[in-house]
């Protein structure tokens, strides 16, 4: 029986519930191990004048203090090479590492950190997008995606709408902080155990910054205690620090950030400030769409340009834009470099147009869902994105129809209207949003993966791929895929720790692509092994059975057995076949490779086919607001997605519920608050509020439609890691919908996140406006 499609437990589940799964900080301490930590900049922007290490050096137990000059190279970055590991001249964010410390004990480390004296001259910092724009302080040149004739589109509109939408950032809040443990080897080799989504990048940057060759560094990732994008590029920093100490002292060296330090010095989801101008007809159909996306990239480029590319290619979301201009600009500020976070700019692009949909409906006094459906991508026409890719396998119309029925939208819309007319104490809001999320790295060359499949003489299999396990279940899915390739039990397949020694030059496990790319590479390896095994089996069976020639094409693998379909009675177990093949001196190991075909992208023209396919969804959320406190409660969420043919329904469902609640946190309670000097005030769970178990929607319906037509991807599945996070945008638009009941003629503008404070301040504004009966219309012109 095939195991793909079955709901088997996560391959680490038993270890997880027993507390036996090992993370970096759980690995046994070596007797001679050193602790590693760092001291960072006291200013968000400052010129380094002097570093005085004399006092710290005298502390017993302190064995090493290192600065930028101890690195062979101090310049790196995942895309643009603009980042330093240790400040040389000017610090660009508060806490930016300056001194790396190696100590014998935690006590010595604590004292040493307090004893390092750093003298700096404070420079004026820039924290916000508007300040950066005013100073023309950008990380990279602006970029465009354009199509059609914007002027003609605006001219054809019945209405124009302009506005500015702002969203805040989000901390990943992976439970396991950034961590690395490095063991020195012979001849200046290093084995780096890193909690990273990107072992290859850790390997490369450790080697480069420490003056080693790539082949002197092995990076191993058994698992992460959560990643969410936060360990795509920023796990490298602690790994280099520990690597430096391990290399210098020839002793194991371990660094584990505290939660507070982690939150303060690592990058987050990008805040955006988006300026939009939209033309639309009386029916709400968009005729022209112009948007400028500005992201707050922080101090260094990190992945900001790629995040912006995804924001730009998701500014259309599920809606056809005939005449369009999308501009993207990454601002440079004095915050830690912002980075990948589940959705990778997609949410920020998507929420911008979902916000606009609400506003168009408000101006036209229509149900927002009606406006959305009027603009939804068609299946055969109005189906080309602004960047020229055709929306293939378009499930949006089907999802819309199905969700409309399942969520009882029409009746609930009426119930909400009645409630708001009657209640003096509360407001309700209802909203339906869509998601169309492109799958593939925008950067073409990243869309490749390798896998190593080794079969052992007892018929068991080890698989190593470039995919890293951060809880998302990629290893379990690949285990299922590989088990089916040989028709063996999943227990006979083990996914090995990800290692650069096994899977060289691997891409990050990111962009929801882990299972797609690495699973496909594993299939490639398995198929070649199966071909060889089938040849061996054919020969063996033919030698035992009279009247038949060896015919590999007649060999079948089923339920742990291998047989010739012309002589099904003479079957051999997979194990017997493996043994036989070994004695026939047939290789039982294979390396597989996969490169996504048919994708391309051109920044010169802002066009191409960057995505292999799209994962889609339709989301309905209903919220309740307290008119006096701004308190928000999510009453009901209906999540309906197209995830193709699921490899593991239990794991995929967990991705849907988990991403949704994480997205709900982004749009409601998760607020990054900074002091005037750029110090993050919400730097621990006491002050940074991710959703809690009591925050679940009272009714939470999560499901997907049947779709086995996605032929372009692994076993007709669709990627599921990021897209469901965007389904939570409906919670935010539902708040906006609730506000529209009391905002009079004024478009209910709303910042993201919609915290209780944000909501109450808006409600107060509308009450005051209503009281003074001053109305202000934001619609700028009527054509």
């Amino acid at each position: 029986m095939p195991v793909v499609g079955k709901n088997i437990p996560h391959d680490s589940a038993r270890g997880h519930v027993s507390g036996e799964s090992l993370y970096i900080d759980d690995m046994p301490f070596a007797r001679n191990e050193l602790l590693v930590d760092f001291v960072g900049s006291p200013f968000a922007h400052g010129k380094l004048i002097d570093i005085d290490l004399s006092e710290a050096q005298r502390i017993p137990g302190v064995v090493g203090l290192y600065t930028a000059k101890d690195l062979a190279c101090n310049l790196f970055g995942p895309i643009l090479k603009d980042e330093v590991l240790l400040v040389e001249d000017v610090a660009w964010f508060l806490g930016e590492p300056i001194v790396v410390i190696a100590a014998e004990t935690r006590d010595a480390m604590r004292q040493a950190k307090a004893a390092v004296r750093i003298t700096m001259e404070e420079l004026p910092p820039v924290f916000t997008i508007s300040e950066a724009i005013a100073k023309q302080q950008f990380l990279a040149p602006e970029r465009f995606i354009r199509r059609g004739d914007l002027a003609a589109g605006f001219a054809a509109a019945d209405h124009l709408l302009e506005g500015v939408f702002t969203n805040g950032g989000q901390d990943h809040f992976y439970l396991e902080s950034q961590a690395a443990l490095v063991y020195p080897g012979e001849n200046n080799t290093l084995t780096v155990h890193s909690s990273t989504q990107h072992p290859t990048e850790v390997q490369e940057i450790v080697a480069k910054l420490l003056g080693l060759q790539n082949n002197q560094v092995v990076c191993i990732t058994k698992r992460m205690g959560g990643g969410f994008g936060g360990k795509e590029s920023q796990a490298t920093h602690p790994a280099v620090m520990a690597g430096l100490v391990a290399l210098r002292h020839k002793r194991p060296a371990r660094i584990v950030f505290t939660k507070d330090d982690d939150m303060k010095v690592t990058g987050k989801r990008h805040p955006f400030e988006n300026r939009y101008k939209v033309g639309f007809t009386n029916d709400g159909v968009i005729t022209a769409f112009q948007v400028e996306l500005y992201s707050n990239g922080g101090a260094y480029a990190d992945l900001s340009t790629a995040v912006m590319a995804r924001a730009m290619t998701h500014a259309d979301n599920a809606y056809f834009l005939p005449n369009v201009e999308i501009k993207g600009v990454c601002c440079r500020t004095n915050l830690p470099p912002n980075t990948a976070f589940r959705g990778f700019g997609g949410p920020q692009g998507t929420v911008t147009i979902e916000n606009i949909m609400e506003e168009i409906a408000f101006l036209l006094k229509k149900d927002p869902l009606e406006v959305r459906r009027a603009n939804l991508y068609g299946e055969t026409e109005r189906n080309v994105t602004p960047y020229g890719e055709i929306v293939m396998n378009n499930m949006l119309p089907r999802l819309a129809a199905e969700q409309f029925r399942r969520s009882d939208y029409e009746n609930r819309r009426e119930a909400v209207r009645r409630f708001n007319a009657e209640s003096k104490t509360h407001l309700k809001g209802l909203s339906c949003t869509f998601v169309k999320f492109g799958i593939s790295f925008n950067t073409k060359f990243l869309n490749q993966a390798s896998a190593l499949v080794n079969i052992y003489l007892d018929g068991t299999v080890q698989v190593s791929t470039g995919a890293t396990e951060m809880g998302q279940g990629v290893n379990t899915k690949i285990r299922q895929v590989v088990a089916d390739q040989f028709a063996i039990e999943p227990e006979a397949v083990i996914l090995m720790p990800t290692s650069t020694e096994k899977s060289n030059n691997a891409s990050a496990t990111a962009a929801s692509s882990g299972a797609d790319l690495n699973g496909s590479a594993a299939v490639d390896a398995c198929q070649r092994l199966r071909t060889r095994l089938a040849e061996a089996a054919a020969k063996f069976i033919a030698s035992k059975e009279a009247d038949i020639e060896a015919s590999p094409s007649n060999i079948l693998f089923e339920d742990g057995y291998v047989f010739d379909n012309r002589r099904p009675a003479r079957r051999m177990s997979f194990k017997e076949l493996v043994k036989y093949a070994y004695h026939q001196r047939i290789s039982l190991g294979e390396r597989g490779f996969y490169a996504t075909q048919g994708i391309d992208w051109n920044w010169e023209t802002g066009s191409g086919n960057p995505f292999l396919y799209y994962t889609m969804g339709c989301s309905v959320a209903e919220v309740l607001l307290d008119r006096f406190t701004g308190a928000l409660k999510v009453l009901r969420s209906d999540v309906l997605m197209d995830i193709g043919k699921s490899i593991n329904p239990g794991i995929d469902r967990g991705q849907l519920t988990g991403a949704y609640i994480q997205g709900m946190g982004w749009v409601t309670t998760e607020e990054l608050k900074y002091a005037a000097n750029g110090d993050l005030l919400s730097h621990s769970p006491t002050t940074y509020k991710i959703p809690n178990i009591q925050d679940l929607p009272e009714v939470f319906n999560v499901d997907w439609i049947e779709n086995d037509t996605n032929e372009v991807n692994l076993l007709r599945s669709k990627a599921v890691g990021e897209p469901p996070l965007l389904m939570a945008i409906a919670v935010w638009t539902a708040v906006k919908d609730a506000l529209s009941a009391v905002s009079g003629d004024e478009i209910p503008r709303l910042h993201l996140p919609a915290t209780n404070e944000e909501i109450l301040m808006r409600l107060t504004h509308y009450r005051k406006t209503a009281a003074s009966s001053v109305t202000e219309t934001v619609e700028t012109a009527r054509v």
């Binding site: 439970l175 104490t425 006491t686």
Partner: protein
């Protein structure tokens, strides 16, 4: 007098003395014992990853409750049985809770999972059948970033309750109880380096210790002190534990007054007060993590002196009294008079809070309590309020209003109270009162909210009160 502590860890006895007793339980588990199943994430008792079960003697047997091991110092563990995630398996096989969580995808990255397992095992040890709300309430103090909680709740509902083996069966209690009984009446005094720990068995001993040691920190749950140690490098020179003083454990109603001893945990109070003062119960219900409420006390919440302590507005409008004991005997001080400024108290160096006396609301009185925080549960308040008054024949009387989070201490609002007295119980009255309330407060802007937000809440809460009581 003895100079050691004695506890059990997953059924095995542990005896410690000297400076070792000042480390946190999570450090001891992870670094001394190599028991790394217990994870530390926030190190401030706000995520639950480090949850362990603490068995304490209650009514002659051990009762297990979840606590955060990252802010439990070992000196607090005398005469307890600690069960960690390593100790919930049954002879090396997964227990019913672990099985259900495995089958239902309750774990993704796995880092929060041991904490959830332990909290849920505690729930199923205490109750034989559970509802969805029971599960949520038991897991309020555990954060998960991967699953969206839904699979965890599903796991809880899927636990095969007839397969649950109670800890009393897994860990026979006779030996533990006997060893605890022998030690119960022996006070502890441990001196190590520049730190001293004392755990007397009588109030007089506590007063003597506090008088004799400068800068003594009094602990019961130590849920705040533990955070200071982890986050501010606080090294308390002298720690006085009340945990062996039996007389401080009283929780009774005498006439119209509830007496809450200094050792009474917030969980115990929450259960006790449920039907007595449902409004206060509702506030205690969202007070914070069960792990915190299982360790922290009402007296501790008062003594920490935070202007956003969730219990204070209630105590202010009920005009609770604190019973203090010191070298000069005992005395009573009104809760309002106790606070002299931000974290400064009417408390002599040798005095401790031994009991809180809370008058109960009278028939005909209306009492409403409010807590506004960014997240409803497991959050520190942005603003708190208590409103207590009577409405007779449409007229407002006997008004007492207290606000928290709007100044350096919790405030009564005398002008607003006076304004409301004798007015008609109408929306207009409360709207006007709200404007007046704004004038009596001095809120600041901080990470939890702007001063404008707090001003607006101070104004609005009176209208909310009206709608809830009209």
């Amino acid at each position: 007098m003895r100079d050691f502590i004695h506890f059990y860890l997953n059924g095995k006895p542990v005896t410690l003395s000297g400076s070792a007793v000042f480390q946190t339980l999570s450090d001891f588990l992870r670094y001394e014992r190599g028991a790394t199943g217990t994870k530390v994430v926030c190190a401030e008792g706000d995520c639950g990853a480090c949850t362990v079960l603490l068995g304490k003697v209650e009514a002659g047997a051990l009762a297990y409750r979840a606590v955060n091991s990252c802010i439990q110092s070992l000196y607090q563990l005398d005469c307890t049985h600690v069960i960690t995630v390593e100790g919930v398996k049954l002879n090396g096989t997964l227990c019913a809770v672990q099985e259900a969580m495995t089958a239902n995808h309750a774990a993704q990255c796995g880092y929060c999972t041991p904490g959830f397992v332990v909290s849920m095992c505690g729930l199923f040890d205490a109750q034989t059948s559970v509802t969805e709300q029971d599960i949520k309430d038991a897991l309020t103090g555990n954060l998960c970033r991967c699953t969206g909680y839904e699979p965890i709740i599903k796991s809880g509902l899927a636990v095969e309750t007839d397969r649950v083996v109670k800890f009393s069966q897994m860990y026979p209690q006779a030996e533990m109880l006997e060893s605890f009984r022998k030690l119960a009446d022996q006070p502890i005094y441990i001196q190590a380096g520049n730190q001293t720990f004392g755990s007397p068995t009588e109030t007089a001993g506590a007063i003597k210790f506090k008088a004799g040691h400068e800068k003594t920190v009094v602990v019961q749950g130590a849920t705040d002190v533990g955070v200071w140690c982890n986050k501010r490098n606080f090294v308390p020179p002298a720690v006085l534990s009340l945990s062996k003083i039996e007389e401080l454990k009283d929780l009774t109603i005498a006439g119209d007054v509830v007496r809450v001893g200094a050792r009474v945990t917030l969980s115990e109070l929450e259960a006790f007060i449920k039907d007595v003062v449902p409004e206060f119960y509702a506030i205690l219900n969202i007070f914070g993590a069960p792990q915190i409420k299982n360790a922290g006390t009402l007296a501790g919440n008062i003594a920490n002196g935070s202007p956003i302590a969730d219990t204070l507005p209630f105590l202010f409008v009920m005009e609770a009294e604190l019973e203090l004991a010191g070298g000069q005997g005992s005395r009573r001080v009104g809760i309002r008079e106790f606070y002299k400024g931000y974290k400064t108290f009417d408390l002599a160096a040798d005095e401790i809070i031994v009991r809180v006396h809370i008058p109960l609301p009278q028939p005909g009185e209306t009492l409403k309590l409010y807590k506004v925080s960014k997240r409803k549960d497991l959050d520190i308040s942005t603003f708190t309020a208590a409103i207590r008054l009577t409405v007779e024949q449409g007229m407002v009387g006997n008004v007492r209003i207290a606000y928290g989070g709007v100044g350096p201490v919790v405030l009564r609002l005398p002008r607003t109270e006076a304004f409301l007295s004798g007015k008609t119980h109408t929306l207009e009255t409360y709207e006007a009162a709200g404007l007046l309330a704004r004038e009596e407060i001095t809120p600041i802007s901080d990470v939890r909210g702007s001063s404008e937000f707090r001003f607006q809440l101070a104004e609005n809460i009176l209208q909310k009160f009206f709608y809830e009581t009209c």
